[in-house]
């Protein structure tokens, strides 16, 4: 039996993964965050306020939708979509941002920092900070600032300051480096609102806890709609917050297979993809021991994905653990697969997913076409494609 219910252990480990590898300056702040989380996340008043916001502000519960036309088109399994794209701000990131935003408020810190790749966590953080009256600074790699310009405009409109990061590979990895440097410098006044299910303990645990609502809702909804548990739950994976959010409700169900879809980019060579679980090796980055894309000398290597939110050379420690013990499987789908899946979903169901979520859809399409019509596949449709329209138009427009 998996010990998932008791993980992480007191030191923040999920088997061989996790932990806390940070400069000494941050230890007190992480201890304080852990204590605050422990004190509040089960406190009835805190839970009531969070649930109230998730409902009236973020629009939860999000529906689970039977994609009947898509399923017919594929001629196999029935595909259901957990519609996180319908949550306020257009992605699941709002769930965690609300939870940590409330923790920031009780901490008394008036300044919030966040990192963002695709911009969805940045938008969610800026949104929550506006609503709670907190200052917000978002670090974003220069490359992502360009390809997700719409989300930059949203963050600015919401009153956040967006800092374009020009070091290293100019993507999410470097945005996290810069956010950590900010936090080391301003730790007394600043709350770091971390968006991925990775980073130093207790962040992977906190992010999972605030994203568990996806799985909780989806589990009840799919049982009502499909008359039982799904055969497979599919989610796109990079840091892994949407994946661990939906997987968490099904980990104890041995009959449900959990499939994470990683970004295959445009090739299998170093630097051409972001398939960390498939191609990565154990290492330590951004405060956690996990699987990483790195060279032989332990330097972190660049990644590529058409989806800015999947363009990171690491994966959350709990997902690395679920892979390690064989509880979750991982598959890789590339840029072209994601675009095909996006187009098919748009044409059959009238839903344009985010490029990140389109990777999960691509995985589901493959699995559905290989299984029979009494199988049920539940896909976490983690975000909507509005932010990606420029990329999508450019890519699909050039295809014959």
């Amino acid at each position: 039996m998996l010990e998932t219910g008791t993980l992480p252990n007191a030191a923040g480990y999920y088997g061989p993964f996790g932990g806390r590898y940070v400069p000494e300056t941050l230890v007190a702040a992480l201890d304080e965050l852990e204590a605050s989380f422990q004190r509040h996340h089960r406190d009835p008043a805190f839970v009531a306020e969070l649930e109230n916001l998730l409902h009236f502000y973020a629009g939860r519960p999000t529906p689970t939708y039977h994609a009947a036309r898509l399923s017919r088109e594929l001629g196999g399994a029935q595909v259901y979509l957990k519609r996180e794209d319908l949550a306020h701000t257009g992605a699941h990131k709002i769930n965690n941002a609300l939870g940590q935003g409330l923790l920031a408020r009780v901490s008394g810190k008036r300044r919030v920092i966040a990192e963002t790749g695709a911009g969805q966590h940045g938008v969610a953080s800026a949104t929550v900070c506006a609503m709670l009256g907190l200052d917000c600074v978002v670090y974003m790699g220069e490359e992502d600032v360009h390809r997700q310009a719409l989300n930059v405009a949203r963050m600015c409109t919401l009153g956040a300051e967006v800092i374009s990061v020009t070091s290293g590979t100019r993507t999410l990895k470097d945005a996290i480096n810069e956010a950590l440097r900010d936090w080391v410098t301003n730790v007394d006044s600043t709350f770091y609102l971390f968006g991925s299910a990775t980073g130093p303990h207790p962040y992977p645990r906190i992010v999972r806890e605030f994203q568990r609502v996806i799985g909780r809702e989806a589990r009840a909804q799919i049982q009502e709609l499909a008359g039982g548990l799904p055969d497979t739950v599919v989610a796109c994976v990079n840091g892994g917050s949407n994946a661990i959010g939906i997987f968490s409700a099904f980990i104890e169900d041995p009959g449900v297979s959990l499939v994470g879809v990683e970004a295959g980019g445009y090739g299998g060579d170093q630097g051409e993809h972001a398939a960390t679980v498939e191609s990565g090796t154990p290492g330590i980055l951004h405060g956690a021991r996990s699987l990483l894309l790195q060279d032989e000398g332990g330097q972190i290597i660049g990644t590529h994905s058409i989806a800015a939110g999947l363009d990171y050379p690491g994966v959350g420690p709990e997902l690395a653990y679920l892979h390690h013990v064989g509880r979750a499987e991982f598959a890789t789908f590339g840029d072209a697969d994601a675009l095909d899946a996006l187009e098919l979903l748009a044409r059959t169901e009238g839903i344009i997913p985010a490029l990140e979520s389109a990777h999960a859809v691509a995985g589901a399409i493959r699995m559905a076409s290989e299984t029979s019509s009494d199988c049920v596949i539940l896909v976490n449709l983690s975000g909507r494609g509005d932010k990606d329209m420029e990329t999508i138009a450019a890519q699909l427009g050039t295809r014959g």
């Binding site: 000494e24 300056t25 080391v184």
Partner: protein, 262 residues
């Protein structure tokens, strides 16, 4: 006796601070990095901190990041660090303390790392992203080869944790002078003396102050409050600002001024 202990002993006898300039392996180039280190020794360095570049140095400010990036673009590997330490060791008896982020060390293997460092002539190791509670394996591997794994204190470290960190410390405690990343600063933090006093109460090993130490007046202000200081970004800034070929001499001249104030 470990050279680190010997160095603090003789500095104490002369009422001096131990001055440790920082050099990056492979910066400005593989070859000139060794020349730079030897020029610092010649200029009066009591110890050298030798930085191994990493792609994601989260505790470092723009200056050290830049030096790391230049070195990595030059194709530097851990073997270059061993080689550099060996070459410096053949010229001097001062303590040599390599520094680097944990991931490249983990990939190399802690046991192999300790063996290679000891063979090259190093005296300890600084790993800014490993806390004492996660350091059992790396500490044990280095202890076996007589190397000290250096521990950190920060202004944010609570008293009780300081005692825990301080009680097992070896060689010296690296006292991060500010909440922040590495980089030159115009003046020392106002609360530095009180913080250094707290560290002093928590440990019996010497205090080396780093992050932002750049001028002789900073060193003068540390007399009686710490046992040594590390200077990194200020020296890299000088190398960067100097005309080609003049960087080593200019940075060594600054080390000479610092040594006079140590």
């Amino acid at each position: 006796m470990n050279r680190i202990d010997a160095s603090f002993k003789s500095a104490e006898a002369e009422s001096r601070l131990v001055l440790a300039p920082y050099v990056t392996v492979g910066y400005p180039t593989r070859e000139s990095a060794v020349e730079l280190a030897l020029a610092y020794v010649e200029a009066g360095a009591d110890m050298l901190e030798i930085g191994m570049p990493f792609s994601d140095p989260i505790a470092d400010g723009p200056t050290v990041q830049l030096a790391s990036q230049i070195a990595l673009e030059g194709g530097v590997w851990l073997e270059d660090a061993f080689n550099m330490i060996e070459r410096i060791r053949s010229q001097t008896d001062i303590p040599l303390v390599p520094m680097g982020y944990v991931n490249p060390f983990m990939q190399f293997g802690f046991d192999s790392l300790a063996r290679e460092l000891a063979a090259a002539g190093a005296d300890g190791l600084i790993v800014p992203d490993v806390l004492p509670e996660h350091a059992d394996d790396i500490e044990a591997a280095h202890a076996e080869h007589g190397l000290y794994l250096i521990r950190f204190a920060a202004p944010t470290t609570p008293r009780q944790r300081l005692r825990h960190v301080g009680s097992g410390a070896q060689g010296f405690i690296y006292c991060v002078s500010v909440t922040g990343v590495t980089g030159s600063r115009a003046r020392l933090a106002d609360d530095l003396p009180a913080y250094l006093a707290r560290v002093g109460e928590a440990t019996s090993v010497p205090r080396m102050v780093g992050f932002g130490i750049s001028k002789p007046e900073h060193l003068r202000a540390l007399h009686g409050r710490a046992e040594g200081a590390i200077v990194a970004s200020a020296l890299i800034d000088i190398v960067q600002a100097s005309p080609p070929g003049a960087g080593i001499e200019a940075a060594a001249a600054h080390v000479r001024n610092l040594a006079a104030a140590a």
